[in-house]
Amino acid sequence: MLWPSPPWDEVVYWALDLETGGLDPRRDPIVAVGMVPLREGTVRLGESYQSLVRADGARAISAASVTAHQLVPGEVREAPPLEEVLGEIDRRLGDGVLLVHQAAIDVRFLRRAHRETGLRWPSPAVVDTVDLIVKAARKARFIDPAAQEHEPDLNLWAARARYGLPAYGAHDALTDAIATAELFLVLRRELGARTLRDLR
């Protein structure tokens, strides 16, 4: 590689998690977001951000997701509109890397939301903890071929349990963002990654 990559802990990471009205990034709305930064390799809880997103009525929230997120449509009606929330997200991403669990889904939700509201998606560098789990499993197999017969479990909470991280009670967007940030710290160490490039 030609470009030097910064040491991993000199980069600011914004761990992000979305709660959505369904699983289809083309149709379902974003109903909540949680973000927390990692600076100098530590999670800064005091800077965390979380918000619900106002439902625009056109997209109904499915009954299943209401149960999953414990959100009721009324709460969502009072929340700030999507444009405003996206502005808050983008402002934060301006100074760092986006850290998500399963980027394929969340980034697609965010891209579409930007397109619909006429905002420009800032295209931050993305680090995906799911990729890191796969990498770590590959590394383990390389060191000891018998280590893992099966594909690793990619579920956030299953992966955390596998690495000895505690189970958390609530499952809202911010908790999941914190959970992702912690998992990232463990995986970073597991991979022995020294630069941002090693993590992408």
Binding site: G41, T42, V43, R44, L45, G46, S48, Q50, Y163, G164, L165, P166, Y168, G169, A170, D172, L174, T175, I178, A181, E182, L185, V186, R189
Partner: protein, 599 residues
């Protein structure tokens, strides 16, 4: 801040849960989450101190000094405060198991220290922390400042009379000034009190013209102005005097009476002593036990060390027993021979904090014909003690069964030393902690038998071996969580039982465990550093037990020795582990010293 799991965890961790809302918000708002893999070194002694206060969420950390592990800290435990408070890195901090930690920047920790309750959790003085915990538990209502200097209680300069004064003149001066004592300006000065008028003037039929110097006490027994109030109590209880002249250099500031000291703590030892002195009859005995346990709680709340409290309890119990035996003597007539009432166990060692089962016996200087008298005396005393709140001894070590002439006791003592079978060792362990509480009989011969034990290697080895059967369970040394610890079985007894053979070996006549350790150090058998650790461990365990038992009593439950670890703060848990570890180390040394593997 929202109900996030890390915040909830912090809230549930002592002492954060006690913080007032604004300070807790401050802590929550600056919380960081950090991860360190096993093997990482967070701080090295003599280098950069830690800049954060850490709360362990998951994993474990080893605290070391010169390569020696001092503590293993686990989930819910806190570290970094020593660095933050002293500004120095005095210890090595090494990650033992992958560590997920919540941490606060040092500056925020210092802000939180402005909260007195939070700060007291990190105070180095144990008494301070116990006092704090007790206040929280609301076991006691009153808490006096027992460490205050006696000079703060002095209300007026002393009243004096000349060296040539008569008792009549002295009495008039006392009446004028409404005082119960007066200083006599002799060289050196003396003191005369209202008790002297009663006991030495009136009772002896002396007239008002008697020179005061004929009935006074000189030289004065003074107490320095800076003496702590509780130390003054000890002097009062030990000497039996009721007036304490307070001195600054060569000058007398004033005279404190037992009533002055009584007012300084309504539930203090002087108050209990006074109630003992005023016991008119057996009917007044019930309630004594309750008063003593209230006193002990209140002294603990006042910040007093449990070992000091035990000293008070022993002195009061002794005063009570003397009273009880005097009643019995008055009823049965004078004893046919001199005798000695002896106490064993924790009472013998003066280590009792709450009243426990009776452990006592009677030694007399007569022959078999005296037995009926002493049997009756012992029967009455045992019954009275039970009424006062000392339960019967389930093992039957009570004077009503154990009364015998001195030579018989000597023979028993010798037998146990010469033939240390298990049953003999059990008896020796109990009876060798004997202490004479009351009576005119000299127990020198019994002490002489004990002195022989120092040469009896087999006996000492067997006694040490029996003591080593009380071990802190290995599982408790590392992981203390969600379990119960028996403070007596796993902590206090191992120290007490092992101090005994060591003290016998060096020929010490001390019975008190800390005094025994002192004697053993003086003889060079154990090091100063070992003693310091054991002493701290012993005090901590005794204090913890007293606090927990006082709480059980306050909740109307019978006091037991088992405590649940979840009831302790993280600092107490790590201190407990330290204490158990120190005990195990000492036991390993002792096994080698006594060569217990040969027996």
């Amino acid at each position: 801040m929202a109900a996030l799991d890390p915040i909830a965890f912090l809230r549930a961790t002592r002492p954060f849960g006690d913080l007032p809302a604004p300070l807790f918000e401050r802590a929550a708002g600056s919380l960081e989450i950090a991860y360190f893999p096993a093997g990482a070194r967070l701080a090295a002694s003599g280098t950069v101190p830690l800049a954060h206060l850490y709360v362990i969420r998951k994993g474990a950390v080893r605290i070391e000094r010169d390569g020696q592990m001092l503590q293993l800290l686990e989930e819910g435990e806190i570290f970094g405060y020593t660095s933050l408070i002293t500004g120095k890195a005095t210890l090595d901090v090494q990650v033992e198991e992958d560590l997920l930690a919540y941490r606060l920047p040092g500056a925020v920790f210092h802000e939180l220290l402005t909260d007195a309750r939070f700060a007291s959790h990190f105070a180095s003085g144990l008494a301070e922390r116990l006092k704090h915990s007790l206040e929280r538990a609301q076991v006691v209502t009153a808490s006096a400042d027992l460490g205050a200097a006696v000079e703060t209680l002095v209300r007026r300069p002393p009243v004096r009379v000349g060296a040539g004064a008569t008792v009549g003149e002295a009495a008039r001066v006392m009446r004028e000034h409404h005082v119960t004592s007066v200083l006599v300006e002799t060289a050196p000065p003396g003191i005369v009190t209202d008790r002297d008028f009663r006991n030495k003037v009136l009772a002896e039929g002396l007239g008002p013209d008697t020179p005061v110097t004929r009935v006074y006490s000189a030289p004065l027994r003074t107490v320095p102005e800076k003496t702590a109030v509780y130390e003054a109590w000890q002097i009062l209880l030990d000497t039996g005097v009721h007036h304490l002249p307070i001195a600054r250099g060569g000058e007398i500031l004033g005279v404190l009476t037992s009533s002055d000291l009584l007012r300084s703590a309504a539930q203090g030892p002087p108050a209990v002593l006074r109630s003992v002195e005023r016991l008119g009859s057996r009917e007044a005995l019930p309630g004594y036990g309750g008063r003593v346990s209230e006193m002990a709680s209140s002294l603990l709340a006042g910040g007093l060390d449990a070992t000091v409290i035990a000293g008070f309890v022993a002195r009061l119990n002794d005063a009570l027993l003397t009273r009880i035996l005097r009643w019995a003597e008055a009823e049965l007539g004078p004893p046919p021979a001199p005798y000695a009432w002896i106490a064993f166990g924790s009472e013998g060692r003066m280590e009792q904090t709450l009243l426990t089962d009776q452990d006592n016996a009677l030694v007399h200087g007569g022959d078999a014909s005296c037995e009926p008298y002493f049997a009756a005396l012992a029967e009455r005393a045992n019954t009275d003690l039970e009424a006062a709140g000392f339960p019967r001894c389930p093992g039957g070590y009570m004077a009503r069964e154990h009364h015998a002439p001195l030579p018989e006791w000597e023979a028993r003592f010798r037998g146990w030393i010469d033939d240390p079978k298990p049953q003999a060792l059990l008896q020796a362990a109990i009876f060798f902690d004997f202490r004479k509480v009351h009576g005119a009989l000299d127990l020198g011969p019994l002490e002489a038998v004990l002195a022989r034990a120092s040469k009896a290697r087999v006996f000492l080895a067997c006694m040490a071996k029996a003591a080593l059967e009380f071990r802190p369970p290995p599982s408790l040394l590392m992981r203390l969580r969600g379990e119960e610890v028996d403070l007596k079985l796993h902590g206090i007894s191992p120290i007490v039982f092992l101090a005994r053979p060591y003290a016998l070996e060096v020929g010490s006549t001390a019975r008190n465990t800390l005094a025994r350790l002192d004697a053993v150090v003086a003889a060079g058998l154990i090091g100063e550093d070992v003693r310091a650790t054991l002493r701290e461990a012993y005090r901590f365990l005794l204090g913890l037990r007293l606090r927990e038992q006082a709480r059980m009593l306050a909740e109307g439950k019978p006091p037991v020795n088992r405590v649940s670890l979840s009831a302790l703060s993280s600092i107490e848990r790590s201190r407990l582990k330290d204490s158990l570890r120190a005990i195990r180390d000492w036991q390993d040394t002792a096994a080698y010293h006594f060569k217990t593997d040969l027996f």
